[in-house]
Amino acid sequence: MAHAQKIVGRRAGDRVILGAVIFLAFLWVVPVLWVLILSFKANSELMLSTGSAFRLPYTLKNYADILASSGVFRWFFNSVVVASLNTLATLILASLAGYGFARTEFPFKNVIFVLVLLGLAIPEQAVIIARHQMFTDWKMHNTYLALILPGLSNAFGVFLMTQYFRSIPMDIDEAAMLDNASRFKIFWRVLLPLTIPAQATLGIFTFLACWNDYLWPLISATKPEMFTLTVGIASTQTNFAQSEGLGFLMAQAVFAGLPVFIVYLFFQRYIIQAVAGAAIR
Protein backbone atom coordinates (compact mmCIF):
# COMPACT_ATOMS: atom_id res chain seq x y z
CA MET A 1 0.00 0.00 0.00
CA ALA A 2 2.65 2.46 1.09
CA HIS A 3 4.64 1.50 -1.96
CA ALA A 4 1.70 2.14 -4.28
CA GLN A 5 1.14 5.51 -2.67
CA LYS A 6 4.73 6.44 -3.22
CA ILE A 7 4.45 5.67 -6.91
CA VAL A 8 1.29 7.76 -7.20
CA GLY A 9 3.03 10.55 -5.33
CA ARG A 10 5.98 10.38 -7.65
CA ARG A 11 3.68 10.48 -10.67
CA ALA A 12 2.04 13.64 -9.34
CA GLY A 13 5.49 15.18 -8.87
CA ASP A 14 6.41 14.19 -12.41
CA ARG A 15 3.29 15.92 -13.69
CA VAL A 16 4.21 19.17 -11.97
CA ILE A 17 7.69 19.04 -13.46
CA LEU A 18 6.32 18.14 -16.87
CA GLY A 19 3.89 21.08 -16.70
CA ALA A 20 6.71 23.46 -15.80
CA VAL A 21 8.88 22.12 -18.63
CA ILE A 22 6.09 22.53 -21.15
CA PHE A 23 5.51 26.08 -19.94
CA LEU A 24 9.21 26.94 -20.28
CA ALA A 25 9.40 25.32 -23.70
CA PHE A 26 6.40 27.40 -24.73
CA LEU A 27 8.08 30.59 -23.52
CA TRP A 28 11.13 29.66 -25.56
CA VAL A 29 9.35 28.65 -28.73
CA VAL A 30 7.03 31.67 -29.03
CA PRO A 31 9.71 34.12 -30.21
CA VAL A 32 11.15 31.48 -32.53
CA LEU A 33 7.76 30.97 -34.14
CA TRP A 34 7.30 34.74 -34.26
CA VAL A 35 10.57 35.10 -36.18
CA LEU A 36 9.55 32.28 -38.51
CA ILE A 37 6.13 33.79 -39.27
CA LEU A 38 7.49 37.29 -39.80
CA SER A 39 10.08 35.93 -42.22
CA PHE A 40 7.27 34.87 -44.55
CA LYS A 41 5.62 38.28 -44.63
CA ALA A 42 6.23 41.10 -47.09
CA ASN A 43 8.21 43.99 -45.60
CA SER A 44 5.72 46.59 -46.80
CA GLU A 45 2.86 44.87 -45.00
CA LEU A 46 4.83 44.63 -41.75
CA MET A 47 5.66 48.33 -41.93
CA LEU A 48 1.98 49.06 -41.51
CA SER A 49 1.36 46.59 -38.69
CA THR A 50 3.09 43.48 -37.37
CA GLY A 51 -0.38 42.29 -36.53
CA SER A 52 -0.70 41.32 -40.19
CA ALA A 53 1.61 38.41 -39.40
CA PHE A 54 -1.37 36.20 -38.66
CA ARG A 55 -3.14 36.98 -41.91
CA LEU A 56 -2.61 35.84 -45.47
CA PRO A 57 -0.82 36.43 -47.78
CA TYR A 58 2.53 34.81 -47.00
CA THR A 59 5.51 35.06 -49.31
CA LEU A 60 8.93 33.55 -49.95
CA LYS A 61 10.25 36.83 -51.28
CA ASN A 62 12.48 37.54 -48.28
CA TYR A 63 14.28 34.22 -48.78
CA ALA A 64 14.56 34.86 -52.49
CA ASP A 65 16.12 38.23 -51.68
CA ILE A 66 18.70 36.57 -49.43
CA LEU A 67 19.69 34.10 -52.11
CA ALA A 68 19.77 36.90 -54.64
CA SER A 69 22.16 39.00 -52.59
CA SER A 70 25.46 38.43 -54.29
CA GLY A 71 27.65 37.33 -51.40
CA VAL A 72 25.49 34.89 -49.52
CA PHE A 73 26.72 31.62 -50.98
CA ARG A 74 30.29 32.71 -50.61
CA TRP A 75 29.67 33.62 -46.95
CA PHE A 76 27.95 30.36 -46.32
CA PHE A 77 30.87 28.53 -47.87
CA ASN A 78 33.31 30.56 -45.74
CA SER A 79 31.43 29.68 -42.58
CA VAL A 80 31.41 25.98 -43.48
CA VAL A 81 35.15 26.02 -44.17
CA VAL A 82 36.04 27.98 -41.05
CA ALA A 83 33.75 26.11 -38.67
CA SER A 84 34.68 22.66 -40.04
CA LEU A 85 38.44 23.18 -40.09
CA ASN A 86 38.34 24.86 -36.71
CA THR A 87 36.38 21.94 -35.26
CA LEU A 88 38.62 19.32 -36.83
CA ALA A 89 41.82 21.01 -35.71
CA THR A 90 40.45 21.59 -32.23
CA LEU A 91 39.57 17.90 -31.88
CA ILE A 92 43.02 16.81 -32.99
CA LEU A 93 44.87 19.25 -30.76
CA ALA A 94 42.67 18.75 -27.72
CA SER A 95 42.92 14.95 -28.02
CA LEU A 96 46.70 15.02 -28.26
CA ALA A 97 47.01 17.50 -25.40
CA GLY A 98 44.49 15.57 -23.29
CA TYR A 99 46.38 12.33 -23.85
CA GLY A 100 49.62 14.06 -22.98
CA PHE A 101 48.33 15.50 -19.73
CA ALA A 102 46.53 12.31 -18.73
CA ARG A 103 49.04 9.65 -19.71
CA THR A 104 52.58 11.01 -19.92
CA GLU A 105 55.02 12.58 -17.52
CA PHE A 106 57.01 15.65 -18.49
CA PRO A 107 58.63 18.52 -16.58
CA PHE A 108 56.27 21.20 -15.25
CA LYS A 109 53.23 19.19 -16.32
CA ASN A 110 51.04 20.46 -13.51
CA VAL A 111 52.12 24.06 -13.93
CA ILE A 112 51.37 23.92 -17.63
CA PHE A 113 47.99 22.34 -16.99
CA VAL A 114 47.08 25.13 -14.57
CA LEU A 115 48.15 27.68 -17.18
CA VAL A 116 45.85 26.02 -19.69
CA LEU A 117 42.99 26.19 -17.19
CA LEU A 118 43.68 29.86 -16.54
CA GLY A 119 43.00 30.35 -20.23
CA LEU A 120 39.38 29.45 -19.45
CA ALA A 121 39.12 32.54 -17.27
CA ILE A 122 40.26 35.05 -19.89
CA PRO A 123 37.41 36.44 -22.04
CA GLU A 124 38.06 36.89 -25.75
CA GLN A 125 37.22 40.58 -25.55
CA ALA A 126 40.15 41.15 -23.19
CA VAL A 127 42.73 40.07 -25.77
CA ILE A 128 41.01 40.84 -29.03
CA ILE A 129 42.72 44.18 -29.67
CA ALA A 130 46.17 42.73 -29.10
CA ARG A 131 45.27 39.77 -31.25
CA HIS A 132 44.03 42.05 -34.00
CA GLN A 133 47.29 43.96 -33.89
CA MET A 134 49.23 40.71 -34.04
CA PHE A 135 47.40 39.52 -37.14
CA THR A 136 47.85 42.97 -38.67
CA ASP A 137 51.59 42.69 -38.13
CA TRP A 138 51.59 39.27 -39.70
CA LYS A 139 49.53 40.66 -42.59
CA MET A 140 47.12 37.80 -42.15
CA HIS A 141 43.75 39.49 -42.01
CA ASN A 142 41.24 38.44 -44.65
CA THR A 143 42.53 34.87 -44.78
CA TYR A 144 40.93 31.63 -43.62
CA LEU A 145 43.90 31.08 -41.35
CA ALA A 146 43.16 34.31 -39.49
CA LEU A 147 39.59 33.16 -38.93
CA ILE A 148 40.60 29.67 -37.80
CA LEU A 149 43.82 30.06 -35.80
CA PRO A 150 42.53 31.96 -32.72
CA GLY A 151 39.92 29.27 -32.03
CA LEU A 152 42.52 26.55 -31.77
CA SER A 153 43.72 27.59 -28.33
CA ASN A 154 40.69 25.88 -26.85
CA ALA A 155 41.31 25.56 -23.11
CA PHE A 156 37.94 23.97 -22.53
CA GLY A 157 38.70 21.32 -25.13
CA VAL A 158 42.05 20.44 -23.57
CA PHE A 159 40.46 20.27 -20.14
CA LEU A 160 37.57 18.12 -21.33
CA MET A 161 39.79 15.67 -23.18
CA THR A 162 42.28 15.47 -20.30
CA GLN A 163 39.51 14.59 -17.89
CA TYR A 164 38.10 12.08 -20.32
CA PHE A 165 41.40 10.31 -20.87
CA ARG A 166 41.91 10.25 -17.11
CA SER A 167 38.56 8.55 -16.67
CA ILE A 168 39.73 5.60 -18.80
CA PRO A 169 41.30 3.01 -16.47
CA MET A 170 45.06 2.60 -16.78
CA ASP A 171 44.41 -1.17 -16.96
CA ILE A 172 43.32 -0.72 -20.55
CA ASP A 173 46.66 0.82 -21.55
CA GLU A 174 48.52 -1.84 -19.65
CA ALA A 175 46.58 -4.68 -21.24
CA ALA A 176 47.46 -3.19 -24.62
CA MET A 177 51.13 -2.88 -23.63
CA LEU A 178 51.14 -6.58 -22.77
CA ASP A 179 49.48 -7.12 -26.15
CA ASN A 180 52.58 -5.63 -27.79
CA ALA A 181 50.89 -2.41 -28.89
CA SER A 182 53.13 0.61 -29.43
CA ARG A 183 52.38 3.88 -27.69
CA PHE A 184 50.92 5.31 -30.87
CA LYS A 185 48.79 2.24 -31.42
CA ILE A 186 47.48 2.42 -27.85
CA PHE A 187 46.52 6.06 -28.44
CA TRP A 188 45.06 5.55 -31.87
CA ARG A 189 43.45 2.13 -31.73
CA VAL A 190 42.59 1.69 -28.06
CA LEU A 191 42.10 5.01 -26.28
CA LEU A 192 40.93 7.39 -28.99
CA PRO A 193 37.93 5.27 -29.99
CA LEU A 194 36.88 5.29 -26.36
CA THR A 195 36.77 9.09 -26.32
CA ILE A 196 34.20 9.38 -29.11
CA PRO A 197 31.44 10.66 -26.79
CA ALA A 198 33.74 13.45 -25.61
CA GLN A 199 34.84 14.16 -29.19
CA ALA A 200 31.22 14.49 -30.20
CA THR A 201 30.46 16.85 -27.34
CA LEU A 202 33.49 18.99 -27.99
CA GLY A 203 32.97 18.89 -31.75
CA ILE A 204 29.37 20.07 -31.52
CA PHE A 205 30.10 22.88 -29.09
CA THR A 206 33.09 24.02 -31.09
CA PHE A 207 31.21 23.94 -34.37
CA LEU A 208 28.23 25.86 -33.00
CA ALA A 209 30.40 28.46 -31.25
CA CYS A 210 32.44 28.95 -34.39
CA TRP A 211 29.39 29.15 -36.65
CA ASN A 212 27.79 31.77 -34.43
CA ASP A 213 30.99 33.71 -33.81
CA TYR A 214 30.62 37.35 -34.79
CA LEU A 215 33.15 39.61 -33.09
CA TRP A 216 36.44 38.25 -34.43
CA PRO A 217 35.28 37.66 -38.03
CA LEU A 218 33.74 41.14 -37.95
CA ILE A 219 37.02 42.88 -37.22
CA SER A 220 39.43 40.47 -38.96
CA ALA A 221 37.59 39.96 -42.26
CA THR A 222 37.15 43.36 -43.85
CA LYS A 223 36.75 42.25 -47.46
CA PRO A 224 33.22 41.03 -48.28
CA GLU A 225 34.50 37.84 -49.95
CA MET A 226 36.08 36.79 -46.64
CA PHE A 227 32.96 37.45 -44.52
CA THR A 228 31.47 34.56 -42.63
CA LEU A 229 27.71 34.16 -42.80
CA THR A 230 27.03 36.03 -39.58
CA VAL A 231 29.13 39.02 -40.62
CA GLY A 232 27.93 38.96 -44.21
CA ILE A 233 24.26 38.88 -43.36
CA ALA A 234 24.67 41.65 -40.85
CA SER A 235 26.42 43.73 -43.52
CA THR A 236 23.38 43.64 -45.78
CA GLN A 237 21.15 45.21 -43.17
CA THR A 238 20.28 48.83 -43.72
CA ASN A 239 20.12 51.33 -40.92
CA PHE A 240 16.37 51.13 -41.01
CA ALA A 241 16.15 47.32 -41.11
CA GLN A 242 13.94 47.20 -38.05
CA SER A 243 11.28 49.41 -39.56
CA GLU A 244 11.62 48.97 -43.32
CA GLY A 245 12.85 45.39 -43.73
CA LEU A 246 11.58 43.44 -40.75
CA GLY A 247 10.52 40.41 -42.77
CA PHE A 248 13.88 40.31 -44.55
CA LEU A 249 15.69 40.62 -41.22
CA MET A 250 13.78 37.68 -39.80
CA ALA A 251 14.43 35.57 -42.90
CA GLN A 252 18.15 36.26 -42.48
CA ALA A 253 17.99 35.05 -38.89
CA VAL A 254 16.26 31.84 -39.96
CA PHE A 255 18.71 31.29 -42.79
CA ALA A 256 21.75 31.76 -40.55
CA GLY A 257 20.30 29.43 -37.94
CA LEU A 258 19.43 26.66 -40.39
CA PRO A 259 22.79 24.81 -40.37
CA VAL A 260 22.83 24.89 -36.59
CA PHE A 261 19.38 23.38 -36.64
CA ILE A 262 20.54 20.64 -39.01
CA VAL A 263 23.59 19.88 -36.86
CA TYR A 264 21.26 19.65 -33.91
CA LEU A 265 19.00 17.17 -35.71
CA PHE A 266 21.92 14.90 -36.50
CA PHE A 267 23.66 15.06 -33.14
CA GLN A 268 20.64 15.53 -30.91
CA ARG A 269 21.51 12.54 -28.76
CA TYR A 270 25.05 13.73 -28.06
CA ILE A 271 23.95 17.30 -27.41
CA ILE A 272 21.41 16.22 -24.84
CA GLN A 273 24.04 14.03 -23.16
CA ALA A 274 26.54 16.86 -23.24
CA VAL A 275 24.16 19.37 -21.72
CA ALA A 276 23.09 16.85 -19.11
CA GLY A 277 26.75 16.36 -18.24
CA ALA A 278 26.36 12.65 -18.89
CA ALA A 279 28.84 12.56 -21.73
CA ILE A 280 31.76 11.98 -19.41
CA ARG A 281 31.62 8.37 -18.39
Binding site: P169, E174, A175, A176, M177, L178, D179, N180, V190
Partner: protein, 364 residues
Amino acid sequence: MSSIEIDRVSKRFGPVEVISELSLRIESGEFIAFLGASGCGKTTLLRMIAGLETINSGEIRIGGERVDHLPPGARGVAMVFQHYALYPHMTIYDNMAFGLRNIGAARPLIDQRVQQAAKILEIEPLLARKPGQLSGGQRQRVAIGRALVKDPKAFLFDEPLSNLDAALRVRTRVELARLHQQTRATTIFVTHDQVEAMTLAGRIVVMNNRKIEQIGTPMEIYGRPASEFVARFVGSPAMNFLPVSVAGQGGRALLALASGAQLQTNIALEDLPSGEPMRLGIRAEAIRLDSEGSLPGKVEVVERLGDRTHLHVRLADDSTLIAEDVGHSRAAPGDSVNLRIDPDQAHLFDAQGRGYRAAAEARS
Protein backbone atom coordinates in the same frame (compact mmCIF):
# COMPACT_ATOMS: atom_id res chain seq x y z
CA MET B 1 56.37 -22.79 -20.80
CA SER B 2 59.12 -21.24 -18.79
CA SER B 3 60.45 -20.94 -15.30
CA ILE B 4 60.51 -17.57 -13.58
CA GLU B 5 63.31 -16.48 -11.29
CA ILE B 6 63.09 -13.48 -9.03
CA ASP B 7 66.46 -12.64 -7.61
CA ARG B 8 66.83 -10.22 -4.66
CA VAL B 9 64.27 -7.83 -6.12
CA SER B 10 63.40 -4.64 -4.26
CA LYS B 11 60.80 -2.02 -5.03
CA ARG B 12 60.24 1.41 -3.57
CA PHE B 13 57.40 3.85 -4.19
CA GLY B 14 59.06 7.12 -3.26
CA PRO B 15 60.52 6.55 0.20
CA VAL B 16 58.29 3.55 0.92
CA GLU B 17 59.76 0.14 0.28
CA VAL B 18 57.02 -2.32 -0.67
CA ILE B 19 59.17 -5.29 -1.74
CA SER B 20 62.43 -5.96 0.01
CA GLU B 21 65.19 -8.20 -1.37
CA LEU B 22 62.71 -10.84 -2.46
CA SER B 23 63.91 -14.04 -4.11
CA LEU B 24 61.77 -16.81 -5.54
CA ARG B 25 62.03 -19.50 -8.18
CA ILE B 26 58.91 -20.63 -9.99
CA GLU B 27 59.30 -23.85 -11.92
CA SER B 28 58.13 -24.31 -15.46
CA GLY B 29 54.52 -25.50 -15.51
CA GLU B 30 53.95 -24.70 -11.88
CA PHE B 31 50.76 -23.13 -10.51
CA ILE B 32 51.88 -20.83 -7.72
CA ALA B 33 49.78 -18.50 -5.58
CA PHE B 34 50.90 -15.25 -3.97
CA LEU B 35 48.84 -15.05 -0.80
CA GLY B 36 48.75 -12.14 1.62
CA ALA B 37 46.66 -9.41 3.13
CA SER B 38 45.67 -6.44 1.02
CA GLY B 39 48.53 -3.98 0.58
CA CYS B 40 51.36 -6.44 1.20
CA GLY B 41 52.80 -6.02 -2.30
CA LYS B 42 51.39 -8.99 -4.24
CA THR B 43 50.14 -6.92 -7.15
CA THR B 44 53.36 -4.94 -7.24
CA LEU B 45 55.40 -8.12 -7.44
CA LEU B 46 53.19 -9.47 -10.23
CA ARG B 47 53.39 -6.18 -12.14
CA MET B 48 57.17 -6.20 -11.86
CA ILE B 49 57.23 -9.63 -13.46
CA ALA B 50 54.90 -8.39 -16.20
CA GLY B 51 57.02 -5.29 -16.77
CA LEU B 52 54.30 -2.83 -15.82
CA GLU B 53 56.37 -1.69 -12.84
CA THR B 54 60.11 -1.05 -12.81
CA ILE B 55 62.33 -2.68 -10.19
CA ASN B 56 64.79 -0.76 -8.05
CA SER B 57 67.28 -3.57 -7.68
CA GLY B 58 67.70 -7.27 -8.36
CA GLU B 59 66.98 -9.38 -11.43
CA ILE B 60 64.02 -11.10 -13.00
CA ARG B 61 64.52 -13.97 -15.44
CA ILE B 62 61.92 -15.75 -17.49
CA GLY B 63 63.00 -19.01 -19.09
CA GLY B 64 66.57 -18.23 -18.04
CA GLU B 65 66.59 -14.95 -19.96
CA ARG B 66 66.91 -11.70 -18.09
CA VAL B 67 63.81 -9.59 -18.71
CA ASP B 68 63.77 -6.81 -16.13
CA HIS B 69 64.90 -4.24 -18.70
CA LEU B 70 62.38 -5.38 -21.35
CA PRO B 71 59.05 -3.67 -22.02
CA PRO B 72 55.93 -5.66 -21.06
CA GLY B 73 55.14 -6.82 -24.57
CA ALA B 74 58.60 -8.30 -25.06
CA ARG B 75 58.48 -10.53 -21.99
CA GLY B 76 56.09 -13.04 -23.46
CA VAL B 77 53.79 -13.21 -20.47
CA ALA B 78 50.03 -12.70 -20.39
CA MET B 79 48.12 -11.07 -17.59
CA VAL B 80 44.51 -11.32 -16.51
CA PHE B 81 43.54 -8.11 -14.74
CA GLN B 82 41.36 -7.88 -11.67
CA HIS B 83 38.83 -5.72 -13.54
CA TYR B 84 39.40 -7.67 -16.79
CA ALA B 85 40.54 -4.56 -18.74
CA LEU B 86 38.90 -5.68 -21.97
CA TYR B 87 38.89 -3.18 -24.83
CA PRO B 88 35.30 -1.89 -24.62
CA HIS B 89 34.97 -0.81 -28.26
CA MET B 90 36.28 -4.05 -29.78
CA THR B 91 34.35 -7.24 -30.30
CA ILE B 92 35.29 -10.25 -28.22
CA TYR B 93 37.02 -11.71 -31.26
CA ASP B 94 39.07 -8.53 -31.75
CA ASN B 95 39.85 -8.36 -28.05
CA MET B 96 41.46 -11.77 -28.28
CA ALA B 97 43.07 -11.19 -31.67
CA PHE B 98 44.57 -7.78 -30.84
CA GLY B 99 47.80 -9.10 -29.32
CA LEU B 100 48.42 -11.55 -32.14
CA ARG B 101 47.76 -8.91 -34.78
CA ASN B 102 50.27 -6.63 -33.09
CA ILE B 103 53.02 -9.18 -33.53
CA GLY B 104 52.01 -9.67 -37.16
CA ALA B 105 50.65 -13.20 -36.83
CA ALA B 106 49.09 -14.62 -39.98
CA ARG B 107 45.34 -14.32 -40.24
CA PRO B 108 44.62 -18.09 -40.37
CA LEU B 109 46.77 -18.63 -37.29
CA ILE B 110 44.96 -15.86 -35.40
CA ASP B 111 41.61 -17.30 -36.36
CA GLN B 112 42.60 -20.80 -35.35
CA ARG B 113 43.94 -19.66 -31.96
CA VAL B 114 40.92 -17.50 -31.19
CA GLN B 115 38.46 -20.23 -32.17
CA GLN B 116 40.35 -22.79 -30.13
CA ALA B 117 40.47 -20.61 -27.03
CA ALA B 118 36.81 -19.71 -27.45
CA LYS B 119 35.99 -23.39 -27.59
CA ILE B 120 37.93 -24.24 -24.46
CA LEU B 121 36.31 -21.38 -22.57
CA GLU B 122 32.86 -21.96 -24.10
CA ILE B 123 32.54 -18.39 -25.35
CA GLU B 124 32.12 -19.20 -29.07
CA PRO B 125 28.63 -17.64 -29.29
CA LEU B 126 29.95 -14.39 -27.83
CA LEU B 127 32.72 -13.68 -30.33
CA ALA B 128 30.80 -11.01 -32.25
CA ARG B 129 29.65 -9.14 -29.16
CA LYS B 130 31.21 -6.25 -27.29
CA PRO B 131 32.38 -6.56 -23.66
CA GLY B 132 29.57 -4.30 -22.46
CA GLN B 133 27.06 -6.93 -23.53
CA LEU B 134 28.60 -9.67 -21.38
CA SER B 135 28.08 -10.68 -17.76
CA GLY B 136 30.93 -10.51 -15.28
CA GLY B 137 31.63 -14.21 -15.57
CA GLN B 138 31.69 -14.06 -19.36
CA ARG B 139 34.07 -11.09 -19.34
CA GLN B 140 36.31 -13.07 -17.03
CA ARG B 141 36.43 -15.88 -19.59
CA VAL B 142 37.23 -13.46 -22.37
CA ALA B 143 40.06 -12.02 -20.29
CA ILE B 144 41.42 -15.53 -19.81
CA GLY B 145 40.90 -16.22 -23.51
CA ARG B 146 42.85 -13.12 -24.45
CA ALA B 147 45.76 -14.48 -22.41
CA LEU B 148 45.35 -18.01 -23.74
CA VAL B 149 45.58 -17.15 -27.46
CA LYS B 150 49.03 -15.65 -26.98
CA ASP B 151 50.43 -18.99 -25.88
CA PRO B 152 52.48 -17.09 -23.31
CA LYS B 153 55.51 -18.21 -21.33
CA ALA B 154 53.50 -17.62 -18.17
CA PHE B 155 50.04 -16.57 -17.06
CA LEU B 156 49.75 -13.86 -14.45
CA PHE B 157 46.43 -13.55 -12.63
CA ASP B 158 45.69 -10.64 -10.30
CA GLU B 159 42.78 -11.57 -8.03
CA PRO B 160 40.78 -12.75 -11.04
CA LEU B 161 37.89 -14.13 -9.00
CA SER B 162 37.33 -11.24 -6.64
CA ASN B 163 34.70 -9.57 -8.84
CA LEU B 164 32.55 -12.66 -9.25
CA ASP B 165 29.68 -13.64 -7.01
CA ALA B 166 30.23 -16.52 -4.61
CA ALA B 167 28.75 -19.33 -6.73
CA LEU B 168 30.51 -18.24 -9.89
CA ARG B 169 33.77 -17.85 -8.01
CA VAL B 170 33.70 -21.47 -6.93
CA ARG B 171 32.84 -22.65 -10.44
CA THR B 172 35.53 -20.53 -12.08
CA ARG B 173 38.03 -21.81 -9.52
CA VAL B 174 37.39 -25.35 -10.63
CA GLU B 175 37.65 -24.34 -14.27
CA LEU B 176 40.98 -22.63 -13.68
CA ALA B 177 42.25 -25.81 -12.05
CA ARG B 178 41.03 -27.84 -15.03
CA LEU B 179 42.55 -25.36 -17.48
CA HIS B 180 45.91 -25.61 -15.79
CA GLN B 181 45.77 -29.39 -15.91
CA GLN B 182 45.14 -29.18 -19.67
CA THR B 183 47.71 -26.54 -20.51
CA ARG B 184 50.35 -27.13 -17.83
CA ALA B 185 51.18 -23.46 -18.20
CA THR B 186 53.36 -21.67 -15.69
CA THR B 187 50.86 -19.68 -13.67
CA ILE B 188 51.11 -17.05 -10.96
CA PHE B 189 47.88 -16.40 -9.16
CA VAL B 190 47.60 -13.45 -6.79
CA THR B 191 44.92 -13.64 -4.12
CA HIS B 192 44.12 -12.53 -0.61
CA ASP B 193 41.73 -15.47 -0.25
CA GLN B 194 43.40 -18.42 1.45
CA VAL B 195 40.77 -20.83 0.11
CA GLU B 196 41.62 -19.91 -3.49
CA ALA B 197 45.31 -20.32 -2.79
CA MET B 198 44.81 -23.65 -0.99
CA THR B 199 42.53 -25.13 -3.63
CA LEU B 200 44.33 -24.00 -6.76
CA ALA B 201 48.02 -23.76 -6.13
CA GLY B 202 50.73 -26.37 -6.22
CA ARG B 203 52.75 -24.07 -4.01
CA ILE B 204 51.75 -21.03 -2.02
CA VAL B 205 53.95 -18.01 -1.35
CA VAL B 206 52.65 -16.31 1.77
CA MET B 207 53.65 -12.65 1.75
CA ASN B 208 53.68 -10.24 4.65
CA ASN B 209 55.27 -6.91 5.28
CA ARG B 210 57.41 -6.63 2.10
CA LYS B 211 58.77 -10.16 2.42
CA ILE B 212 58.00 -13.79 1.81
CA GLU B 213 56.77 -15.29 5.04
CA GLN B 214 56.68 -18.89 3.87
CA ILE B 215 56.74 -20.94 0.67
CA GLY B 216 55.24 -24.40 0.57
CA THR B 217 52.59 -26.74 -0.70
CA PRO B 218 49.09 -26.04 0.60
CA MET B 219 49.39 -28.81 3.19
CA GLU B 220 52.81 -27.62 4.33
CA ILE B 221 51.44 -24.13 4.76
CA TYR B 222 48.42 -25.45 6.60
CA GLY B 223 50.11 -28.13 8.66
CA ARG B 224 53.47 -26.54 9.37
CA PRO B 225 53.04 -22.78 9.39
CA ALA B 226 56.45 -21.19 9.80
CA SER B 227 55.07 -18.23 11.68
CA GLU B 228 52.13 -17.05 13.68
CA PHE B 229 51.20 -14.80 10.73
CA VAL B 230 50.86 -17.77 8.39
CA ALA B 231 49.03 -19.77 11.03
CA ARG B 232 46.50 -16.99 11.51
CA PHE B 233 46.10 -16.29 7.81
CA VAL B 234 45.49 -19.82 6.60
CA GLY B 235 42.63 -22.04 7.73
CA SER B 236 39.05 -21.36 8.69
CA PRO B 237 38.16 -20.88 11.46
CA ALA B 238 41.40 -19.17 12.38
CA MET B 239 43.78 -21.11 14.60
CA ASN B 240 43.32 -20.76 18.39
CA PHE B 241 46.13 -19.13 20.33
CA LEU B 242 46.66 -19.60 24.06
CA PRO B 243 49.51 -18.33 26.24
CA VAL B 244 51.47 -21.23 27.79
CA SER B 245 54.54 -21.78 29.90
CA VAL B 246 56.94 -24.46 28.79
CA ALA B 247 58.54 -27.08 31.03
CA GLY B 248 60.77 -30.01 30.10
CA GLN B 249 59.73 -33.65 30.20
CA GLY B 250 62.25 -36.08 28.71
CA GLY B 251 63.44 -33.59 26.11
CA ARG B 252 59.88 -32.86 24.99
CA ALA B 253 57.99 -29.68 25.73
CA LEU B 254 55.35 -29.94 28.46
CA LEU B 255 52.94 -27.05 28.22
CA ALA B 256 51.09 -25.53 31.16
CA LEU B 257 47.99 -23.57 30.10
CA ALA B 258 46.78 -20.53 32.01
CA SER B 259 43.69 -22.48 33.05
CA GLY B 260 45.94 -24.99 34.84
CA ALA B 261 45.65 -27.83 32.32
CA GLN B 262 48.81 -29.48 31.02
CA LEU B 263 49.67 -30.74 27.57
CA GLN B 264 52.54 -33.10 26.77
CA THR B 265 53.80 -32.44 23.22
CA ASN B 266 56.41 -34.04 21.00
CA ILE B 267 58.07 -30.74 20.24
CA ALA B 268 61.78 -31.04 20.97
CA LEU B 269 62.71 -28.84 23.90
CA GLU B 270 66.15 -28.07 22.51
CA ASP B 271 64.55 -26.33 19.50
CA LEU B 272 62.75 -23.82 21.66
CA PRO B 273 64.14 -20.52 22.89
CA SER B 274 64.39 -20.65 26.68
CA GLY B 275 62.84 -18.19 29.06
CA GLU B 276 60.52 -16.60 26.50
CA PRO B 277 56.75 -16.38 26.76
CA MET B 278 55.30 -18.85 24.25
CA ARG B 279 51.93 -19.24 22.65
CA LEU B 280 50.22 -22.48 21.81
CA GLY B 281 48.56 -22.56 18.41
CA ILE B 282 45.93 -25.20 17.87
CA ARG B 283 43.34 -25.59 15.14
CA ALA B 284 39.70 -26.24 15.94
CA GLU B 285 39.80 -29.74 14.47
CA ALA B 286 42.51 -30.69 16.99
CA ILE B 287 40.26 -29.81 19.92
CA ARG B 288 37.48 -32.31 20.64
CA LEU B 289 34.83 -32.82 23.26
CA ASP B 290 35.90 -35.57 25.59
CA SER B 291 34.42 -36.25 29.03
CA GLU B 292 37.91 -37.36 30.14
CA GLY B 293 39.47 -34.20 28.65
CA SER B 294 41.68 -32.09 30.88
CA LEU B 295 40.44 -28.72 29.71
CA PRO B 296 37.08 -27.68 31.21
CA GLY B 297 35.03 -24.85 29.80
CA LYS B 298 31.60 -23.52 29.04
CA VAL B 299 29.97 -23.50 25.59
CA GLU B 300 28.95 -19.97 24.56
CA VAL B 301 28.06 -20.21 20.89
CA VAL B 302 27.23 -23.21 18.73
CA GLU B 303 27.83 -22.77 14.98
CA ARG B 304 26.37 -25.57 12.89
CA LEU B 305 27.95 -26.06 9.48
CA GLY B 306 26.11 -29.28 8.67
CA ASP B 307 29.03 -31.66 8.34
CA ARG B 308 30.61 -30.35 11.53
CA THR B 309 29.92 -27.94 14.35
CA HIS B 310 32.10 -25.20 15.77
CA LEU B 311 31.82 -24.67 19.51
CA HIS B 312 33.02 -21.38 21.00
CA VAL B 313 34.12 -22.35 24.50
CA ARG B 314 35.12 -20.08 27.38
CA LEU B 315 37.87 -21.53 29.55
CA ALA B 316 38.46 -21.16 33.29
CA ASP B 317 40.95 -18.30 32.74
CA ASP B 318 38.33 -16.41 30.69
CA SER B 319 40.05 -17.00 27.34
CA THR B 320 37.97 -18.49 24.51
CA LEU B 321 38.74 -21.02 21.83
CA ILE B 322 36.93 -22.74 19.01
CA ALA B 323 36.58 -26.52 19.13
CA GLU B 324 35.17 -28.80 16.48
CA ASP B 325 32.44 -31.35 17.00
CA VAL B 326 30.45 -33.66 14.74
CA GLY B 327 27.59 -32.36 12.60
CA HIS B 328 24.91 -33.65 14.94
CA SER B 329 26.57 -32.17 18.00
CA ARG B 330 24.51 -32.39 21.16
CA ALA B 331 26.30 -29.42 22.71
CA ALA B 332 24.16 -26.40 23.52
CA PRO B 333 25.04 -22.91 24.68
CA GLY B 334 25.59 -22.90 28.44
CA ASP B 335 26.78 -26.52 28.60
CA SER B 336 29.83 -27.29 30.69
CA VAL B 337 32.19 -29.43 28.67
CA ASN B 338 35.63 -30.99 28.84
CA LEU B 339 38.00 -30.56 25.89
CA ARG B 340 40.90 -32.67 24.74
CA ILE B 341 43.73 -31.19 22.67
CA ASP B 342 45.56 -33.45 20.23
CA PRO B 343 49.19 -32.83 21.21
CA ASP B 344 50.45 -34.00 17.81
CA GLN B 345 48.75 -31.04 16.18
CA ALA B 346 50.12 -28.46 18.59
CA HIS B 347 52.17 -25.51 17.32
CA LEU B 348 54.30 -23.25 19.47
CA PHE B 349 55.10 -19.65 18.59
CA ASP B 350 57.73 -17.50 20.28
CA ALA B 351 57.54 -13.77 20.96
CA GLN B 352 58.73 -13.00 17.40
CA GLY B 353 55.99 -15.20 15.95
CA ARG B 354 58.38 -17.94 14.83
CA GLY B 355 56.64 -21.33 14.70
CA TYR B 356 57.78 -24.67 16.18
CA ARG B 357 56.41 -28.13 15.47
CA ALA B 358 57.20 -31.65 16.44
CA ALA B 359 59.46 -33.17 13.80
CA ALA B 360 57.39 -35.35 11.47
CA GLU B 361 59.17 -38.56 12.51
CA ALA B 362 58.63 -37.86 16.22
CA ARG B 363 54.91 -38.35 15.73
CA SER B 364 54.14 -41.88 14.84
